[in-house]
């Protein structure tokens, strides 16, 4: 039984599961922390095999996100950006990356880890789920006001650049000014 489920999870991850089957697995994922860990592990393995591991792997990512959401739900949440599914070969603007992660976590807590897959290719199944959070029956939705965030990217970017330059200029450093200078020169705003 578990074996079969594991295979299904793997298939879902690869984008080979759709419709009712996918719903089924998601229901299972929702109910079992063990399966969610399995999901997380598979992603980790996949990332490792693709040589795509982030510098730091936090095993408790999903639970920390859940905890953060719970903590936030008790306060009034600020605006949350709806998740914009990322297209292949078209990375999300750097500015939206972490925010989109938060948004998907808010709507689909059970598959929150998915959105943190920073690889260039997001599994198609994952995109479908993310794009249609309303169809996720029974998944707890947070009572947050979702306002689309229209980001004038160029303006936001230039503003953040200003901040970075100012921060570097005024920050305390280890030795002289070298490191802050290197940080400015080595900063690539388009990454």
């Amino acid at each position: 039984m578990t074996e079969k489920l594991n295979e299904k999870i793997s298939a879902l991850m690869d984008g080979g599961l759709a419709g009712h089957d996918a719903q089924d697995v998601i229901q299972n994922l929702k109910q079992s922390a063990e399966l969610r860990q399995c999901w997380e592990r598979y992603h980790l393995i996949g990332d490792a095999l693709r040589n795509n591991l982030p510098p730091v792997v936090r095993h408790d990512l999903a639970s920390r996100i859940s905890a953060a959401i719970e903590a936030d739900a008790s306060q009034s949440l600020p605006t949350v950006v709806p998740f914009v599914p990322r297209q292949k070969n078209k990375p999300a603007p750097f500015f939206l990356k972490p925010l989109s992660g938060l948004a998907i976590a808010a709507s689909v807590a059970a598959v929150a880890v998915v959105s943190f897959d920073r690889g260039g290719d997001v599994a198609p199944a994952v995109q479908t789920m993310a794009a249609a959070p309303a169809q996720m029956q029974g998944v707890d939705r947070l009572p947050v006001s979702v306002t689309p965030l229209v980001v004038d990217e160029a303006a936001a970017q230039s503003r953040l650049n200003d901040y970075l330059v100012n921060h570097s200029q005024y920050s305390t450093v280890m030795q002289g000014e070298m490191l802050p200078s290197a940080r400015i020169v080595g900063y690539n705003p388009n990454e």
Partner: protein, 359 residues
Amino acid sequence: MNTPKGLRMKASLRELGRARPFFFFVRWSSRIAAYPLGVLVLLAATLSHARASDAAAEVRQWLDKMSHSSQKINFEGTFVYRRGDQVTAMKIVHVADENGEREKLSSLNGPVREIVREKGVARITMDKKSVVVEKRSASRSLVSKTPEQIDQIEKYYSFSSGGESRAASRPVRVVNIVPRDAYRYGYRVSLDQQTGTMLQSDLLNEEGVPIEQVMFITFELLEKAPPAMREPAKHGESASMHPDGPQVSQPLTGGEGWKVGKMPGGFILTEHYRHQVPHSQAIMNHMVLTDGLASVSVFIEKNNAHHASPFVGVSRMGVANAYGTRINDYQVTVVGEVPVATVEMIGRSIKYQGPGAAK
């Protein structure tokens, strides 16, 4: 259709099975090593207690040497700067003579980027645009740290010696600076034994993984300033290159009503500026918080049509983390080379308590 996918994953798992001999080794070695290890740990604990103070004193001497090194020497060097998967090669020329300290740092690959610093003024040329940033206060590095301040830093970081090594073909002393909590990053620096100059530096995240590295490839002491750096830069001329002109900044004594409610232990608010944003009426409030090594900037700007892009949540800029929030009509952004938890804690605690604040 599903089975092959599942099988593929299993095959992947099998590939990982290669790790097994390692586990075997651990089990085997732990059994025979258990007894002597216990004795060793006890012994080491006793010895290290006696030595800890010596080591810390030695490390402090090195840090002191490092902090004064740049004031006395002329050097030229090339280094690589790595952050994440980005690597930039850079060149630095540093001069300290009767005309004061001057420094020029430029990128050697990719777009031409350059920073020339002199007497608190930095001219930054990036991607064909230039800005001049004036820093009114004296440079604050470890230079100005009194022993009491170092004591304060030691409350939140532990210093230890990492022994001797080599960087840019020169013998160096390695110093580890390890944070005592999760609100700041650690450093591992390699200091030139002769001059104390930092020839290698790693910024280490919460897990001790380097997230930013500087490594000198060549380092050469110069007897005197090279011709191009002999004269102090003429900032009057260079300013004309920059249509935006210098950013006007003035230190503030009061907080303009903005308060940071909560920050990790050891952090204090050291400075507060008002920057006049070039070519606009906009004023940017800038608070600088520091624990002596790491620093965090808080920027507060009134939202207007020109800056109509709110930034809410956590983001990353280079090696710095950023947390943005909106308070009334203001955009509040916290930026620092510190863990997300730190910018977030600070960002969430910012309040306006000045005139007109809601009770």
